[in-house]
């Protein structure tokens, strides 16, 4: 995984300028995740199951939040519809190649999952209280 090794100030600027401009979705991560930002292509690969390690070798865990936020996130970052995403993961499940990602129904549940799960990343709508997790910046 590519990590943009910039100074903390620049990271915050990138997160602020780019991350919030793309969609009304926040990318959140467990506080132990060793990055402050993530690229769009890495997010796509994570949610397709092609990227399973953070840069320090620890496992990536991810979840989805059902509803309009999921449609928006998948369209913007994974370039799939929700139906295509479900089909993709059912293929993995029924051929033994993967496990369906945990699905949350409420933003607060997603925050709780990410806060309590090592290496976890997820997405919530803007305005969600994210005190227990960190919000990742998005790089192109």
């Amino acid at each position: 995984m590519k990590h943009v090794k910039l100074g903390a100030l620049i990271l915050v600027m990138v997160a602020g300028l780019v991350g919030h401009a793309l969609a009304d979705v926040l990318i959140i991560a467990n506080r132990g995740v060793p990055v402050a930002s993530v690229s769009k292509s890495d997010l796509e690969r994570i949610y397709k199951g092609q990227l399973s390690r953070w840069e320090d070798g620890s496992r990536v865990n991810f979840a989805v939040l059902r509803g309009e936020t999921m449609d928006s996130f998948l369209s913007d970052y994974v370039k799939m519809s929700s139906a295509q995403f479900d089909q993709h993961w059912k293929r993995q499940v029924f051929t033994g190649r993967g496990q369906m990602p945990p699905a949350m129904n409420r933003p607060a549940d997603m925050v709780t999952y990410v806060a309590n799960t090592q290496g976890a990343v997820g997405f919530v709508p803007e305005g969600t209280i994210t005190d227990e997790v960190k919000v990742l910046g998005i790089t192109p």
């Binding site: 092609q50 059912k90 033994g96």
Partner: protein, 442 residues
């Protein structure tokens, strides 16, 4: 029909009570066990020709059942197993078997290893061919996914290395290489097809046992930078021996019988394209398959000498299709496909039915035209299929499909259920196949 309606109603009611997600036991992250499953029931009917089941009378011997368990044991290690049973006319018999079961150690994203029984890579959809809800159509195009070969190429027992190579702006390249053994059941489609073929050559075969020598398969999938476009190529090489008791057909001038060891090598490859764009799904695939047949008859009888004199024979088959589907709403998708298959690439029009052009018999005195005498017609050399499918996603876990096939030709059909009372093949050139199927999954 009455029992079918009852079964489908029962499945529907069952579906209403199913949870929307998998059944999970234990911790979500490590050590917990997740259970998924599906049940499919279908119905087939044709106006002429029997499509793997006795479809001219209508057949509900068309169903699948699968349940799998899996667990993420640690960061790198994952284990799982799926039990599967199916009926498609004479195939499957509904007997549960291990569909796949393996340990998966993913060392890095670019390399992992699986050991056990894995779904065999072939084309874009072979690994998911048994799972109805994962595609638009009921039947995958038979030009590339011949149901007669399903039992053999469904899975491979052995080992696999795989990985995803991220190439930046060039996309991602996924690879799989598998080696081990595949299954050639005595009552399976491959052995049945070979028995039919040998009958045409004047050899009545009674298979006694099979033995897989080796099987290998591999594939590359390129997820291109163009969103939704993936290109793929796959190949397999399988070889097996069959012990069979062979008897000379009545028309051969060499009466007698012999114990024969028949060696078959199949080398196939595919080239595939799939493009997802908005509500559209487009797919096209090509497959070529080269067979090598070598028979060794024991003994020194004229019949045994006739078999051994044939040496190694080759046969090239060819198939391709294009399909497009459009999803109108969350609950409805329509699809159409066109597929062509040729049982002998060098005889696309079936002209080898004419004895003067048949190399096996041109120099055998007293032999007339075994193919023609056995009922073979030109159209048994090909299968052209225009198919239309309507898929209805009644709920995320409950799918119902209707499908019609306008067929031309009769290649790949099983001979034993398409023969007349005299035992000779008796197929129609133009025919229609109707299929309906319902699947419930969790």
């Amino acid at each position: 029909m009455k029992s079918l309606k009852g079964l489908m109603l029962g499945l529907g009611l069952l579906c209403m009570g199913l949870p929307a997600m998998a059944v999970e036991f234990g911790d979500d992250l490590y050590g917990g066990v997740t259970v998924h499953g599906f049940i499919s029931q279908g119905y087939l009917a044709s106006d002429n020709n029997n499509f793997f089941a006795k479809t001219e009378d209508g057949s509900a011997r068309f169903n699948e059942f699968g349940v799998n368990i899996s667990s993420q044991v640690s960061d790198n290690l994952r284990v799982g197993l799926q039990i599967f049973a199916r009926n498609l006319g004479e195939f499957g018999e509904g007997e549960p078997e291990i569909d796949w079961g393996f340990a998966d150690y993913r060392w890095r994203d670019w390399m992992g290893i699986r050991v056990g029984k894995m779904k065999m890579v072939h084309g874009l959809y072979n690994t998911t061919r048994d799972i109805d809800m994962l595609r638009n159509s009921i039947f995958l195009p038979q030009s590339v996914y011949n149901e007669a070969w399903r039992d053999t190429v469904s899975a491979i027992s052995g080992a696999e290395i795989y990985g995803d190579l991220y190439m930046g702006n060039a996309g991602t390249l996924s690879y799989q290489f598998q080696g081990g053994e595949t299954e050639f059941a005595l009552d399976g489609g491959v052995v049945t097809s070979l028995t039919d073929q040998s009958r045409l050559a004047g050899v009545l075969s009674d298979p006694q046992s099979t033995h897989t020598k080796h099987s290998m398969a591999g594939g590359l999938v390129w997820y291109t930078p163009l969103n939704g476009l993936r290109l793929s190529t796959t190949a397999w090489a399988v070889e097996f021996d069959m012990e069979t008791e062979a008897t000379a057909a009545a028309f051969l001038p060499f009466p007698g019988s012999a114990n024969v060891k028949a060696n078959t090598v199949s080398r196939a490859y595919t080239a595939s394209l799939e493009y997802l764009r908005g509500p559209f799904t487009f797919a096209a695939e090509y497959m070529g398959n080269r067979y090598e047949f070598t028979n060794h008859a024991k003994g020194d009888s004229p019949f045994a000498n006739f078999i051994n004199a044939a040496g190694t024979k080759t046969l090239n088959t060819e198939g391709y299709y294009a399909a497009i589907a459009y999803r109108f709403t969350d609950w409805m998708e329509l699809g159409i496909s066109y597929s062509e298959y040729y049982a002998d690439k060098d005889d696309r029009n079936g002209k080898l039915n004419i004895i003067e052009q048949h190399p096996s018999f041109i120099n055998v005195p007293g032999v007339d035209n075994p193919r023609k005498d056995a009922g073979y017609k030109d159209h048994d050399a090909w299968l052209k299929d225009i198919a239309m499918t309507a898929r209805f996603d009644l709920t995320p876990n409950w799918v119902f499909k209707l499908e019609g096939h306008a067929m031309n030709g009769a290649a790949i059909l099983m001979k034993d259920i398409n023969s007349g009372d005299d035992g000779n093949l008796n197929t129609s050139e133009n025919w229609f196949l109707f299929a309906a199927k319902m699947t419930v999954s969790f």
